[in-house]
Amino acid sequence: MTLDLIQFLIFATLLLALAWPLGHYMARVFTGEAQFLAPVENALLRLAGEGRPQPQRWQAYALSLLAFNAAGFALLFLMLRFQNVLPLNPQGFDALSAHLAFNAAISFVTNTNWQSYGGETTLSNLSQMLGLTTQNFVSAASGAAVAAAVARGFAAKQTRVLGNFWVDLTRTTLYILLPASLVLALVLVALGLPQTLAGSFDATTLEGAQQSIALGPVASQVAIKQLGTNGGGFFNVNSAHPFENPNALSNLLTTISILLIPVAFCFTYGRLVGDRRQGGALFAAMAVLFLVGFGAIYGAERLGNPLHAGLIDPTAGNMEGKEVRFGIFASTLWAAATTAASNGSVNAMLDSFTPLGGLVAMLNIQLGEVVFGGVGVGLTGMLLFVILTVFLAGLMVGRTPEYLGKKIEAKEIKLAALTLLVMPLGILVLASLAIATGNAQSSVQDAGPHGLSELLYAYTSATGNNGSAFAGFTANTPWHNACLGIAMLLGRFGYIIPILAIAGSLSAKRPAAETAGTFPTHGPLFVTLLLATILIVGALTFLPVLALGPIAEHVSILAGQSF
């Protein structure tokens, strides 16, 4: 216990010590102050026909993003469909089926990295690198661009423009993601991650058996999948695989990398809107939710599984699906971070977590991926809740709600309320459809309430653009590949487009001066109201179905019932 607390403090201290300066640096990237890569940047933009980039209104910004993501989808889809005839395929893997390629391409373009397949048995090195690694970078950069545009729009003084998407995309990739990934990848190789173009090597074990050991360009992909909140691993079991995550130090660094940029974005935001307290309030709300979530998962896994009492020495906790080198603490901290931050990588199998541990992981996503959330989009998701909170607070005292001096009016509230429908649509409606058509029953692995949890987790993960899984669920079927693909699109663009529209609307407004009657959107009172809004919306939407899944499973286990 004490050692675990010390481990947590080391993790939190390092995370904040890195995220604080990074947040300020990122603000300099988005304001254009950072210039040391200007030659590369300008050459790329000139080639793109954007040599003199014009600031865009929200519609043009959104269309640019959609055009870029559509092109990315098309390229990746074709690459996966034809990987059998493309080079760098040392193991001679087949082309992906149409529905699997559709799902995988959407998955990586939307920064979800849901994987309906096992990496080492399905994808060539070319697909992993040129296909997936590229999208790992640019999907994260797209999210970061949205956050920068939204911050500019919120702070704008009647300019109506949000910045230029192509510039934000290019600068995020060049100044933030590439340098950070290069450094992390090389450190990870030093810690044991393979980085080679070979596909596998053979060993004759001590007992004389043949062991074929898969490897490849692992470190370069792991670095960006952690930093870009992507989460798609090189191997089927992701960061539980010893080649993705061999020891305590690699685990500490990659856990920090999950949260690093999303945490830094809170500080970036404060700088971009010219009031650091605003970023601090968002950080505080996110940190509270994170700590509560982590504490709950940790406690549940530490207590272990009552069904196995008497068989297993209780001191070790629930070790099914976990690795010895990580144990309970590092496995649960990762689970909390990866579901909070919309990353989706795992270092332990979430399907085998206790019912309550799995519930919290699921709920972290269902709250809308706002607990730090994905790169950029976590911050903007939280801003949607901020708008709803100032509206509710305004109703309570009978004043027109304001945020950063801008009046929040019917248009903004309608758009923000629209996004509240995304999660229930993607999760509850699509999962119900799968049950009604019998597609759920044929894909779940476990009987009883845990089967529902597996289905629910799949659609939760897709809609939240998370990508982690209760991996017993068989997702690689035409039905689920298609529906999960739709859920990912809905969860990505169902948030991005409304928040850009809100930013566009606010960018046209004149900020009013702060008066004695202004409701401050920082400080403990506001943070409490914000937390209440998030939890009430999340609980009202998902408690009923959680009661049928993980909560029912929990009480069954307490009663000694297995399925």
Binding site: L44, E120, M129, T134, V189, D202, N236, G304, G327, D446
Partner: protein, 196 residues
Amino acid sequence: MTSYFRPALVLLGAFSLLTGAAYPLAVTGVAQAVLPFQANGSPVLKDGAVIGAALIGQSFAAETYFHGRPSATAAADPQDPAKTVESPYNAANSTGSNLGPSSAALKQAITERVAALGGGAQPADLVTASGSGLDPHISPQAALVQIGRVAAARGLAEERVRQLVQAQVEPPLLGVLGEPRVNVLALNLALDRLAR
């Protein structure tokens, strides 16, 4: 509308080359030049032959060796490629059991493993499948409970084997980070050296 095509296509192409080719190839080049052992999968050699990877577990079933954790990995059935057969520590296809906490199959499997070890409350890692199916480690407790069996099978004094295990325990980094653990392959290699 067409004004969006050029930047979309050009930047997608440029970033594919930069982040999808130049970046992984640059990391590969540096890694192969500076850190070739790690970059090529930390292979373990014995008498010049590759006998495994230092970071990847392998299957041990003989009485004379320490056993690793249960592994849920599978392989294609040689008789019928559409089906799979159990193939513990298949390092070409990592997977956990993914059995849920209320699974009767999981309880059954754990009960059988515990019975095979002689009953009682066994160390958790020794009777549960790892996440990767390739976990190279067991807990020190899981090594200690196997000492009697290994010592008897090899005709060694238990104390001798116990000392060997204790020398192989890797403590947490700086005393706090990670968990104490024993690399099963390293332990068994040390055991073979002891016998010579």
